[in-house]
Symmetry: C2
């Protein structure tokens, strides 16, 4: 039982959090005061009694983690920061202003924010990732606290997080659902039916506690209970009132994401007891225990493949991942129930302690990766490339989180064959190119895959590797290098008439076409554009210069946004310091245009006109075009 002094202190702190949420949004002229006010009591008790966090050392491994999954309640978070004494009142009032760190939704520009939130239903999944790190890798006793809104539990991703957390017995994960009943445009599905939330959570294997979210004693008891649960995650389902503390807007629809008028704000502040200036000393964690040692780094021994042999790039991925695992104890792997297809199993078998099975939950897979990298692990997450599209919003948000994650999509393109279009990624290059600060790689042979993997380990941001199902010939020696941002001129002479740009499976088609064209005295330059983003403009420009601007780009991808788009954009843009100054560009884009079907890979490549036959035909046609210098 909390003492009267504690209760008073929490009450005053909660009121201050409310007042500061009102003041900040008033100053901003927009923002979510009411969604902040409903959760203020939870936040007050948490930060005063349960959170262990060293604000001066936010990266400290032993710190608890706090994720504001309902990111629109950012004013509450910033009010907490002010109460913790780490931001000034002046900064608080810079909310939502250009140049301020206090953005409309939290971003990791603030050192205490681990992950960007604001796309709802993601924070709990990222919390799962952090809790996996704490329980299974760091082996430290820190807790992960995630504050959710009630509306966001409509997102399926929340339930992916719930079942994953239960499966991994994440007793270090404590969720809170701020059941303030009102979503943006009206009542939520479940309203104040906290019982229904509890039933759902229990059905998913969690310990669940329903409370009055404004009863400070009840909150204290619930947190106290949650930290003692040893076999499963806990969720506290808190019935609250949106706008709590200001009678004229409490529990009223139409007050979502709306700042009060000045007179309303003044009345509310008075009602809340007037401006306080409480500073809380948040408990620091015990830093004696250090993160567990996951192994000793060994010299990197990448797999190597004999030229002329055949291996799929997905298999090379698995073998290279295993090699990286030996060299770097911080490499971890995740897969969405297809590790025997992506070959993530090659890693999982040797390093089961650093492998996390995500079952068929791609959103959670990416969320886990984001959570794991918060603790500096290097996550490689794989599934069929087609199914990474399931997690696109998570990837988008991971970029806003400035997360360093590596995503690997296997079975790309129509060359998978019989399984048909549902399993064929034909949009992944486009979608991953359009992710901020991303890297997009697409190897064509085993040695190249291994060398790119080596660089992926260190690469910042969202790094995407596209692999192929079918075996492809090894065309590079194991000691060649493939810098990210580069390309490889695979065939060239000083009389090349055309340039053929391919990558992955189409590079091999380009090589076949090269041989056939040669018998007809047409010499082609063949470029392997394994680094789709960043792109090697220099080599492309030189090739276009040398071949009268005549290019064939061939890709196992829709024509929009992939290889052709990357090449086209590289050529036409003159905003870069050096730009293309050669003969007028004439490009034939060989790409997938019609909906594919089932069939053998060769049949499908031929039908889609992205095979050697199509390249030969295109080459003969393009060669007839007049050159414009």
């Amino acid at each position: 039982m909390a003492t009267q002094t504690h209760l008073e202190q929490w009450h005053n702190l909660a009121q201050q959090l409310r007042i500061d949420s009102i003041r900040a949004t008033l100053e901003a002229g927009s923002g979510h005061s009411t969604s902040s006010m409903s959760a203020a009591d939870l936040a007050a008790v948490l930060m005063d009694k349960y959170l262990h966090y060293d604000f001066e050392n936010p990266k400290q491994p032993q710190n608890d983690r706090f994720v504001l999954s309902k990111g629109h309640a950012a004013p509450l978070l910033y009010a907490m920061y002010k109460a913790a004494g780490i931001i000034s009142d002046e900064e608080l009032l810079s909310l939502r202003k250009f140049g301020s760190r206090l953005q409309g939704h939290p971003v990791p520009i603030l050192p205490w924010v681990d992950v960007a939130t604001g796309s709802l239903g993601q924070g709990i999944g990222q919390g799962v990732g952090m809790a996996l790190a704490g329980k299974y890798l760091d082996k430290l006793p820190y807790k992960v606290w995630v504050l959710m809104g009630d509306s966001e539990t409509a997102e399926g991703s929340v339930w992916e997080a719930f079942h994953t957390a239960a499966y991994y017995n994440l007793n270090n994960l404590i969720g809170m659902i701020d059941v303030n009943r009102l979503g943006q445009r009206g009542q939520t599905e479940l309203g104040w039916n906290t019982y229904a939330y509890v039933e759902r959570a229990r059905g998913f294997g969690w310990h669940a506690i329903a409370i009055d979210g404004h009863d400070l004693n009840a909150i204290d008891r619930a947190f106290g209970e949650a930290v003692t649960i040893s076999d499963r995650p806990t969720v506290i389902v808190a019935q609250t009132i949106k706008g709590k503390g200001s009678e004229e807007i409490e529990n009223m629809n139409g007050w979502h994401g709306k700042a009060m008028k000045r007179d309303q704000a003044e009345r509310a502040i008075e009602e809340l007891g007037g401006n306080h200036n409480i500073t809380i000393r948040v408990k620091k964690p015990d830093i004696q225990a250090q993160p567990a040692l996951l192994g000793l780094a060994q010299p990197l021994q990448l797999p190597s493949y004999e030229e002329g042999k055949s291996i799929s790039t997905r298999k090379a991925y698995g073998e290279a991942l295993r090699a990286l695992g030996a060299a770097h104890p911080d490499v971890v792997a995740l897969d969405a129930e297809v590790s025997n297809s992506t070959y993530a199993e090659d890693f999982a078998k040797v390093y089961p302690d650093r492998y996390f099975e995500m079952f068929i939950a791609e959103q959670q897979m990416v969320a886990s990766a984001v959570g794991l990298q918060v603790r500096n692990y290097k996550p490689f997450a794989s599934t069929f490339a087609a199914f990474l599209s399931r997690a696109y919003d998570f990837v988008r948000m991971a970029a806003i989180s400035r997360a360093d994650i590596k995503l690997v999509g296997s079975h790309a393109g129509i060359s998978i064959g019989e399984d048909g279009p549902s399993q064929m990624a034909l949009e992944d290059l486009a979608s991953f190119r359009a992710v901020w600060n991303s890297t997009v790689l697409y190897p064509c042979d085993g040695n190249q895959t291994a060398k790119l993997m080596e660089q992926m380990y260190d690469r910042e941001g969202i790094v995407y590797l596209r692999t192929t199902r079918m075996n492809t010939p090894v065309i590079y020696s194991a000691d060649e290098s493939f810098p990210i941002g580069g390309s490889k001129v695979v065939r060239s002479s000083d009389q090349d008439q055309i340039t053929i740009v391919g990558a992955g499976v189409t590079l091999h088609e380009a090589l076949k076409a090269y041989d056939r064209l040669k018998t007809e005295s047409i010499t082609a330059r063949v470029i392997d554009l394994y680094s789709v983003k960043p792109i090697d403009t220099e080599t492309l420009y030189q090739a276009a210069q040398d071949t009268d601007g005549k290019l064939i780009v061939v890709e196992d991808h829709w024509v929009e946004g992939g290889l052709s788009a990357a090449v086209s954009q590289a050529f036409v843009g003159i905003e870069t310091p050096s730009f293309y100054n050669g003969p007028k560009l004439q490009v034939i884009q060989l790409a997938v245009r019609d909906m594919p079907s089932s069939g053998q890979p060769e049949e499908l490549l031929h039908a889609a006109k992205i095979d050697a036959d199509a390249i030969v035909t295109a080459a003969k046609s393009i060669i007839k075009q007049p050159v414009i210098r």
Copy 2:
């Protein structure tokens, strides 16, 4: 209680379905016989006793719907078709072959397949859409039967479907979970813990029945119970054995998606009682009751806006949608809990019976739309454009389903201002362009929005409309037309020196830049590229011809895959019948390149260098470039 004759008949039918699954995959050399065999008993009872379906009239409104959500069990589905007498044994054995309708996963090339499946966890959501149509629009008694795998319940989207179905009391929806314990690479999260499935389903408000999925009597009783439940959806959790019927592979790991060897297959077929040739006469539905009339079509009266006034395109969307609703009783709308921001509420208020609130569940929103269009409704589904990324895999699959759905993303780009990057769609043009057979529209004013909406109604495939949060001036008169695939030359003269291409919010920046450039005697052609896909190459080519190939493309989107990419790809490609033959192209791509923050729209447009200032600067720089003809 089923009679002995029935039980025998079902047994024989189930064995035949197993045998045919084995035979088809044997012939194909790949495919999922074991996942078909586990569900064969469910399928046999369903098709013999409970399904009401006229195979000769698959579009018949009164038909039940059957969705094979576990699409990899396609051999079972095709074996059912053979047993129903609608495909021949010869066709059955064409499974997975090039040119066959029987693809690796079901696609609607087959007239009895309503939606493509194969990306797991989607069928139940699409079933929800069909059941919404049945209960609330058609008001017909048909049932929607969805057969799920156990593995796929790890997808959060399944739980979006569950809570949506419960919220809408979809007693016409009956799910089956084939709990065969084994996923692709090993045991599922829950194994044979059917109790856990039941708890989850009940937590989400469903009636749930756990049975032995090979006990034909129990299956019969469960279906019999399910069809009588009047207030909620029912799920039958069936404990089954993967590979059931062939002792040597039953319940064994490593048999997912693998065809048997010939001798194994022969032994299995013998064990299953040898080749049968049963044909079942599936019951036809009662076709007396007709779909309900949802209103009488009125002449279309699009909203119109006075030139010079200001309105946001999102508001015009809402008003145009309401107008379409009056003109077309088959228009339905969905939104993901932000209808007061997207203005879908303008429709919802007038046509509440044709509006479905999806809460914050974007995947389910798209799935519902796909399900609704199966019954020929015209769904318009809206949310923030950023959050449509959540449903990208559903959109991809909708394209494979050949679904006709209209998706509307509001609050696109950095021009939303204070909310920050989590709410800003900057990848939507790229991702939607890379969807098969898609249309991508991006209006800049109210009248244009209304005119595009009129065309969206009829347009096939995935049609995406991008709207803007801020008010923008009305620049077009209400009687102008904006054909899809066209563009608008907003400013031009016969001495234009450069071309500025914009759309949406940047079109207005282009117009401001035009005015400023004019005062400095620089004349620009300004093109409004409201139809991003298909793109108006002709007008672009003419402009480039007329302005020495000097183009500025300005977009509120990442530089990759959006407007710049569309324009670049339109120019460099010579694979089209008519191609650009003018002066060498020199493009400045003004697009978002750095991660935006919060701020006022104008501040953000300026910081990102996509405002009038940036256009003016670019124009002056590009004008200095030498022309290459």
